[in-house]
Amino acid sequence: MPKKIELTLAGTTASAVLHENAAPKTVQRLWDALPIEETLRHVRWSGSAGYIMAAAQRDPSFPLENRVSFYQPGAMHLKPEHGEVAISYGPAQARESTGIGWATHFATLEGDASAFLDAVARTQHEGKKQLTIKRKES
């Protein structure tokens, strides 16, 4: 049974499957840090995504796993050098002011997550929102 997490944002909830096989170290580190409550903001360089800065996930020496540059909608990514956890709702990419970067794709939303992703998208027009991530008990 795969590990899952539950995300809550602005009255909406979504569930995501953690990719334990593709990103085992990242998934374990995140799992051990749950629950997480942080401010979600819209990205400024990467496109259609929101992000939190999770201090417990910040480790510049932590390896990338399941490495990607482009984010698919509904995917969750970690940039360990910043502790940045991003949730994409449309086309997005691991970008910074200096150019294109990489991230670990560690989870993917499951089911109909459209209301949750709409809430992520609205952070561009409405501003920051509070995000909670916790273990989803099966």
Partner: protein, 144 residues
């Protein structure tokens, strides 16, 4: 005497000098289209520390089809324009930090049209707040 425009966001006002030597046609047409009142100012999602507004006006059909001075960087305190004469519109962007005009498929060129007068801290703060607080209203008018 250079033409100057006043920008107002959230009760904060700042004055920009139009860069007429760099972009004579674009700045002239923007001047003729003023005031641009109660437009929606949003934070960008690809270009870094920058906010943008879209404006439409029949006069914008006369904008140059190419940048008079093409740049990709949006330096702090500058206003740049993405010209869309075929749509009778333009996009204006202002930076409060490190910014570069980018689309999903990479960098794009824009025309610098204005430079802030003075130190601009209050305006930079208002621009930055759109990131945390969401979109705001912006007015651009001719400065007296």
């Amino acid at each position: 005497m250079s033409r100057r425009i006043e920008v107002e966001i959230d009760g904060v006002r700042a004055t920009f000098t139009l860069l007429e030597e760099w972009a004579p046609k674009a700045t002239s047409i923007i001047w003729e289209a003023l005031p641009l009142e109660n437009k929606v100012l949003r934070h960008g999602k690809l270009s870094g520390d920058a906010c943008f507004l879209d404006a439409e006006d029949p006069k914008f059909q006369q904008l140059p089809s190419r940048n008079e001075l093409g740049v990709t960087s949006i330096y702090k305190g500058y206003m740049v324009a993405h010209l869309r004469p075929e749509q009778s519109s333009l996009e204006l962007l202002m930076s409060y930090g490190v910014a570069e005009y980018r689309w999903p498929d990479g960098r794009r060129y824009v025309t610098p049209v204005g430079e802030i007068e003075g130190e601009g801290t209050a305006l930079y703060d208002a621009l930055q707040r759109t990131w945390s607080e969401g979109q705001k209203k912006i007015t651009l008018r001719r400065a007296s």
